[in-house]
Amino acid sequence: MKRDKIKLKSILINLFTTVLVIVEVYPIFWMVTASLKQPAEFVNKPAYALNDGFYIKNYIDAWTRGNMATFFKNSLINTLAALIFIVFFSVTVGFAVTKMDWKYKDKVAKYFGIGIMVPIATALIPLFQIYNKLNLINTRTSLILAYIAFGLSLSIYLITGFLRSLPDEILEAAVVDGCGIYKLMWNVVVPLMKNAIVTVLVLQFFFKWNDLLFSMTFINDTKLKTIQTGLLYFQDEFGSKNWGAIFASVSMSVIPMLILYMILNKAVIEGMTAGAVKG
């Protein structure tokens, strides 16, 4: 009896696991197969059928006619530029408000915390006016500045959470050894914070790469569009007729993320389970 029960349990667990994996992975797998189909296959065969061959022309169409190369480059430049500053600022500010000695540090930490609650939509209209006056509409700078500023609050919050649990003795020992503040930051604090920095990097990378609201508001020059706005434009350009090319463009925007995730996945999952997000 008991053995039957255990057996039933393991069957149920395996069944549920299989369903879970199918639900999570099948849509992505389907998309890749569809991106390799010829136009006729979409009409003559059911949607779930596998691709007959490898119809690479979809990718060539998306890459050249669809400007995917440009969109990629733009997303990459904007995201990387913003990430460098976000990490730099969140480490320096985070350190200053937790470990350094000055009067207003708690107030400044709280002030940066407000930003977690600010929806982008609320700041959008005035920001558009500010950028308009400064002639920053349709420039990369407009996006990068907004990405940095809106990435600060959560990043500083995560970094301070991590730094608070870092024992002061380590810093004291370094100071006794004659470390100045900049050397202390660079040689002692930063290496100790590797996990927290990776968490911030990864989270912010996904947020910035996924930005749509800023880029559709501030950019209308096709040469400066990012992946997200580019994909929307692509849909309008190719309509619903060229399924293969749309699937190819979507796959192209997805595949680098998957590769990146595969490389970093241990750090991502560990960073998140280790409690950086728990605060």
């Binding site: 696991t17 999570e24 992975v25 849509p27 992505i28 389907w30 998309m31 009409v43 059911p46 949607a47 779930y48 969140s90 320096t92 500010v93 350190f95 200053a96 470990k99 002030y111 940066f112 407000i114 930003g115 609650m117 600010v118 929806p119 939509a121 609320t122 700041a123 959008l124 209209i125 005035p126 920001l127 500010i130 500045l145 940095i148 600060l152 609050s153 810093l171 100071v175 470390c179 503040i181 790469w209 996924n210 749509l212 609201l213 992946i227 997200q228 929307l232 849909q235 749309i246 699937f247 979507v250 925007s253 998957l258 990146l260 995730y261 999952i269 998140m272 389970t273 409690g275 997000v277």
Partner: protein
């Protein structure tokens, strides 16, 4: 020690650049939005002081009420789905799943990393009915459920549900990883002891796991809430707010009013409303924390 950590020049260098940028781009525009909300028209064109007229108008505006209702429904469904399923999956990983733990957790996290617009376009094709059946309809029709074949995102009755399902699909892996980390922090001995005392699964969850997980559940609810209040990207990519106004959110309505119709003053009222909703909602969720 004090000399090094109290270095005024270093503090200024560390804090001031970020402080300026943050103030100009995040805080100032919020205050500015409040100021704009007292005016009518568009700055530079017709721009007149209107006092609180815009606010009075807000609750008589049928489109605004419709967007608010859609947004609130979306928050309720997606929040429950993301946090509830995330928690369920984490419990499954911790207590039942024995083989391939790491691979399965990695796969479940997969959709989190995909660009929103890409996911939206993928789901457009999954839900499609015209000119050819998309993935969902073609499977339904093949397994004999022809009755269920329908324009999932083309009709008001299912569009919001279809959108919510997509957003839950995307994010539940994110929450499951956070909850899983929290579950690992609960010492195994406590759970073993409860099991020896004859605690069944439901009681174990109710009297031991739930209280211990409470802070992290609240954090996740706030996270999910602030994410869903903003409802914009995924709805734009999947349905463009349609059919009709069936999936048009507050942010989308604000965007239309201020950028497509050029009513910046009135748009700002909606923007301020979204901000207040965000603060009020997180405040309410956080109050559950302080009771104990």
């Amino acid at each position: 020690m004090k000399r090094v950590l109290g270095n005024k020049k270093a503090i200024a260098l560390f804090v001031i650049p970020a402080l300026i940028l943050y103030t100009v781009i995040v805080i100032l525009p919020v205050i500015w939005s409040v100021y704009y909300s007292l005016y009518e028209g568009s700055p530079g064109l017709k721009w007149e002081f209107a006092g609180l007229d815009n606010y009075k108008r807000l609750f008589k505006d049928k489109n605004f009420i419709a967007a608010l209702v859609v947004n609130l429904k979306y928050i309720a469904i997606v929040m429950a789905g993301q946090v509830g399923l995330g928690l369920g999956l984490a419990l499954f990983f911790r207590f039942w799943l024995k083989n391939f733990k790491n691979i399965i957790r990695t796969l479940v996290f997969f959709p989190v990393v995909l660009p929103t617009v890409a996911v939206g376009q993928l789901f457009v094709k999954i839900y499609e009915i015209q000119p050819n059946y998309g993935l969902l309809n073609s499977i339904l029709s093949n397994i004999g459920l022809q009755k269920l074949v329908q324009p999932w995102i083309g009709q008001a009755s299912t569009a919001l549900g279809a959108l919510s399902a997509m957003d839950i699909w995307v994010a539940m892996g994110f929450y499951s990883v956070i909850f899983y980390g929290a579950l690992l922090d609960i010492p195994g001995e406590i759970i073993e002891a409860a099991k020896i005392d004859g605690c069944n699964a439901v009681n174990l969850f109710k009297s031991i796991l739930a209280p211990l997980l409470r802070p992290i559940i609240i954090t996740c609810l706030v996270f999910s809430f602030t994410g869903t209040v903003k409802m914009f990207e995924s709805a734009l990519a999947l349905t463009k707010g349609g059919p009709g106004n069936a999936t048009k959110s507050l942010s989308m309505y604000m965007y239309n009013v201020s950028f497509s119709y050029g009513k910046v003053g009135y748009g700002s009222v909606i923007a301020v409303f979204i901000f207040l909703l965000c603060i009020a909602g997180s405040g309410i969720i956080n109050r559950f924390d302080k009771k104990n």
